[in-house]
């Protein structure tokens, strides 16, 4: 239910696994690699790394928090590591609940928490260097953090 993988995510399969007779709603969030263009350069891909197994455990903790706070019956989260090309899925969150309100709220909560507490980092690899997102450290001229 909480996985960190190197391969492309199969979101359709994750949703199928969430289908239950006691649920009327499945809310899914998929984070994809958005390509920014600035100053004549473009992001070519993202590269993710994680501190494992802490990251795995934090994903499971988010799932447990959700099951305490909302009436949901299924939570799965899959996060990708390594190179993720433009438009591809880096994270998928699938929540099934009897009613849609809790499903929406819980899926939103999951992505916000992932971005706060799960030890995963990405760097943008541009045509002219890379930048660690959040730290602004890297080899691009624009990566001016802490210089």
């Amino acid at each position: 239910m909480f996985t960190i993988v190197e391969e492309p995510l199969d979101v359709g399969a994750l949703i199928q696994d969430a289908q239950r007779r006691d649920c009327g709603a499945i809310a899914t969030f998929v984070g994809t690699t958005r390509i920014d263009v600035s100053e004549g350069a473009a992001v070519e891909y993202l590269e993710y790394e994680a501190y494992r197994p802490m990251a795995d455990r934090k994903l499971a903790e988010i799932g447990a928090e959700i099951e305490r706070r909302w009436n949901v019956r299924h939570v799965s989260i899959a996060h990708r590591l390594g190179r993720v090309d433009p438009g591809e899925a880096s994270v998928a969150i699938v929540v099934a609940a009897p009613r849609r309100g809790p499903a929406f709220e819980a899926s939103r909560y999951a992505i916000e928490r992932i971005k706060e507490v799960v030890p995963i980092w990405k760097r943008e690899v541009w045509s002219d260097g890379y930048v660690w997102v959040g730290s602004q450290v890297g080899t691009r001229d624009q990566a001016s953090g802490f210089t």
């Binding site: 984070g31 993710y48 790394e49 994680a50 501190y51 197994p53 802490m54 990251a55 455990r57 996060h79 880096s90 994270v91 992505i111 992932i114 971005k115 706060e116 507490v117 799960v118 030890p119 995963i120 980092w121 990405k122 760097r123 660690w132 997102v133 959040g134 730290s135 602004q136 450290v137 890297g138 953090g145 802490f146 210089t147």
Partner: protein, 80 residues
């Protein structure tokens, strides 16, 4: 000894992903940070942005560390 793992921008700045440090029982994370910043001065400017973990759980800078523990230096996370 303790093992210090560095990730993301911190690994970049330090030029390494893993450092072994000889420490005594009960040394604080703050002290370990001071040692790291001395060994790898390029890390020093990141100080206010970093979080730390001991044995895979977030810990405050006044937390104590024992020989054999695993310390991780965590830049602002950017998953998702």
């Amino acid at each position: 000894m303790i093992k210090v793992l560095l990730f993301g921008a911190a690994a970049d700045r330090a030029g390494t992903r893993e450092i072994e440090l000889p420490v005594e029982e009960g040394v604080t994370l703050a002290k370990i940070w001071a040692l790291l910043a001395e060994l790898h001065p390029d890390l020093a400017p990141m100080r206010d942005t970093l979080a730390f973990a001991v044995n895979g759980e977030y810990a405050r800078k006044d937390a104590g560390v024992s020989p054999g523990d695993e310390v991780a230096v965590l830049p602002p996370v950017s998953g998702g």
